[in-house]
């Protein structure tokens, strides 16, 4: 496939185009300051280095200053960004044609060396993303304006992985001569330049005047306030001190129902909740697959989505629902059975009075999800005790030790932009973080690898369906429902562009398009 330069569909009214929740009104003048509020700051011990960033909130902020070769378009299509186009002479080779006239915000022009250096640096790093890039064999300059990446074997999610912030192009010259430390300085080709950052308080960005796309970014400055308390963000929207804010509560729309000029939209994401059953702990209650199967059957993802997520989430298999090619959760074996079968399985396993503790973190809506799970399992005679912790204690308990000491735990994965990416986490040997509570399943691992190689198409969908079914039966990590993102903005202050779906949790992805209607 060959990509071409695309601009977002030009549209003068705010009626959303397909794949969009909102499209910025290009007729509005550029300029102005945009005030945003998000609930959490990027917080990593590794600093600002995009290659080491591993959470969506960090990607979101870093994406304002860093760019990747390719990017994700509406409905998960891969689109050009710093590469104007690319060729794939064979499934193992990608040749990227670099965009001309791209400069870093310090004024230096981006070169093929920067691209090659960045990718090599990433591959040599301890970054989690190194694995997502797949079996890369070599990265090399192909003339001054082309870069060639060779894979050891075919790897379908490659482009989607390349579209995320850790694969951003860094100013390698400066990094190599040590004049810039990416951990402490943001120096990218992106639309905005950091002016000030106070940890956990605010970020201020100003327009990158040397940005390659001449009509972008529209807003001159961004003020991003970190407001952990939902009520504070809602307040800021209501009184207009924020033009856009991310919201956590699935019912925020009704909270803001009467507020004038505030629009609340739900962005579907590929992130999804999943239930971990610890099979590694000595004396695990879940060692018997029948017990896990029973739990999987007793769970009612539709009810979880309807009740805990206010109808905003969707049931999902291990390939995130919504991604092209992902499998149908309703077709999974466990979805077709009810509590009766679960009881039977438990009886067979001799685990009639199963009681276990579910460890969750306190951030909403996890407690709501857990309580619906509790109700679900009660139908099958399983007693769940919920243990709610702050996130630090929770991650200490879940990831801190191997074998881990919890019974069951609830969390969510970022779903990314290709159905073959998250499935890897079901192989603890490559994932690493879950060796403490999950036993590798050889068959499943093989299926995952196969699906990774299969080029997009019907064969891939079949391969993925096999992975889904196998994982459903294995049921050590049980996917539940997708996790919606709620965004609200002031219609009188802002005309934003927002995708209807998002794979990397980046609400600010299109912020460079947003038009400010009035300056506060």
């Amino acid at each position: 496939a060959t990509g071409t330069t695309t601009t977002p569909p030009a549209s003068t009214q705010e009626s959303a185009a397909p794949g969009y929740l909102a499209v910025a009104d290009q007729a509005l003048p550029a300029g102005g300051t945009l005030n945003l509020q998000v609930h959490i700051d990027s917080g990593a011990a590794t600093g600002y280095d995009p290659q080491l960033a591993d959470v969506a909130t960090t990607w979101q902020l870093l994406s304002l200053s860093y760019e990747t070769l390719v990017t994700i378009g509406p409905d998960f299509g891969v689109q050009p960004l710093l590469a104007e186009k690319w060729d794939t002479p064979d499934p193992k080779t990608y040749v990227f044609h670099l965009r001309k006239g791209v400069t870093f915000s310090n004024g230096r022009e981006m070169t093929a060396d920067d691209v090659v250096g960045s990718l090599k640096r990433l591959l040599a790093s301890k970054s989690v993303w190194r694995g997502q890039l797949g079996p890369v064999e070599s990265v090399a300059k192909d003339g001054d304006d082309k870069v060639k990446v060779t894979l050891k074997e075919a790897y379908t999610p490659f482009l989607a992985a390349l579209a995320n912030v850790p694969a951003a192009v860094l100013p390698m010259k400066e990094i190599d001569d040590k004049s810039v430390d990416p951990a402490t300085t943001l120096l990218g080709t992106g639309p905005y330049v950091v002016e000030n950052h106070r940890q956990d308080v605010s970020w201020t960005f100003k327009r990158n005047d040397k940005y390659w796309s001449k009509d972008k970014p529209a807003a001159d400055a961004l003020n991003i306030t970190i407001a952990p308390e939902e009520a504070a963000r809602i307040a800021a929207l209501q009184n207009g001190s924020a033009a856009l804010a991310t919201l956590g509560n699935v019912d925020s729309a009704s909270m803001l129902a009467g507020a004038r000029n505030v629009q609340v939209v739900t962005q579907a994401t590929t992130d999804f909740y999943y239930l971990m059953l610890n099979t590694v702990a000595p004396g695990s209650k879940f060692a018997d697959p029948k017990v896990r199967q029973a739990i999987n059957i007793a769970l009612d993802p539709q009810q979880i989505a309807d009740v805990a997520l206010g109808g905003k989430g969707k049931p999902t298999a291990i390939t995130p629902a919504g991604l092209p090619g992902s499998c149908d959760p309703a077709a999974l074996p466990s979805a077709k059975q009810g509590p009766e079968e679960a009881r039977k399985l438990l009886a067979e396993a001799g685990a009639q009075n199963l009681t276990f503790t579910l460890s969750i973190f306190a951030t909403e809506p996890a407690p709501a999800v857990a309580q619906v799970i509790q109700q679900n399992l009660q139908q099958a005679g399983i007693t769940v005790k919920i243990e709610q912790m702050d996130e630090a204690s929770w991650s200490g308990k879940v990831y801190g030790k191997a074998p881990a000491e919890f019974d069951a735990a609830l969390s969510w994965f970022a779903g990314y932009a290709d159905p073959g990416m998250v499935t890897k986490w079901w192989n603890p040997e490559t994932a690493g973080f879950n060796v403490g509570f999950m036993k590798p399943d050889k068959d499943l691992n093989a299926l995952i690898d196969t699906a990774g190689k299969e080029p997009a198409g019907a064969a891939r969908e079949q391969a993925l369906a096999a992975v889904c079914a196998k994982a459903d039966a294995d049921a050590q990590m049980i996917p539940l429902v997708t996790r919606p993102a709620t965004v609200a903005f002031r219609g009188d202050a802002l005309s934003p562009s927002l995708y209807a779906t998002e794979g990397y949790g980046n609400v600010l992805r299109l912020v460079a398009d947003a038009r400010v209607k009035k300056t506060q």
Binding site: A231, A232, A242, M389
Partner: protein
Amino acid sequence: MRLLMWWSGRALSSAATLLGVSVLIFAAVRLMPGGFAETVLGPFATAEQKAELAARYGLDQPVLLQYGHWLAAVTGGDFGTSMISRQPVGTELLARLPVTAELTVLAVAASVLAGVPLGVLTAVRIRPAGTKGAGGSAGGSGGGSGVAGRLLSGLGVSVPEFVLGSLVVFVFSRYALGLEVGAWVPFGQDPAANLATMILPAAVLAVFSISVTARTTRDAVMGVLVEPYVTAAVGRGESPWSIVRHHILRNAATPVVTLLGTIIAYLLGGALIVEHVFNLPGVGSYVVQAVGRRDYAVVQAGVLLAAGVFIVMNVLIDLLVGVLDPRLGVLAGRRS
């Protein structure tokens, strides 16, 4: 000379208390489950990365040694480095202190300016006694105004800040009522705008302390009212307000001022919730987030700071009490 001795005595005991606080806080922070590494590095971090981070912040050393290093650094004015922002904690605390301080000062001011008059008014009886039908309540809880006072001050202490705060945030953000929420501006940038955004949080914070102050004032004034010197002043024909001004206020001040010490500790804690609800960049929200992320240096410094402020305030209050009541003062002479 006496003052000097008093100071050295107080300094010594304050230092002992602070030392105790430092031990407790250090121990508490280390006892928290959940490692800094999982939190700061995320679940995907390798053991190697964790070890590297631990080494960077000296967390691989024996705990006692860590404590010693920390204590030595703190006494030298170095509060360590935040593991999240990698900035010196001292700098960040200093930047955030004004917000919390302003909030607390405003709330203390409100407690004194509203609580004290309220307490005096509900305690002082103007109607002369001995008249038929006057007085009458057995326990002396102050008759009608007493019931109202008790209910009022009771109400003040029963509405938790987070409820009141959330309500205020919502109401004031939805309806233009003249005061802004959520648009915090640094004081240095625009004092007037800053005050306008601080009034509401301070008011929410102050509700509890106002009613406690009012209640304590009322108790203290009622205690003073029956002192012989007040009877003597009444007997000399002094007017009620002259008595309140000259004899009652100062004598009732001791318990109220002493209470302020407790109130300040309380407000420092309450500020944490209020800062959270109103999203103000103060020390409180800093510490809460740091607890959440196991950012040890920040938690330790934050709590030590709060305790230090509290202890210093209490020393000052003791001094003030001495000035107000010469019988209790440092400089009190012995009976001739």
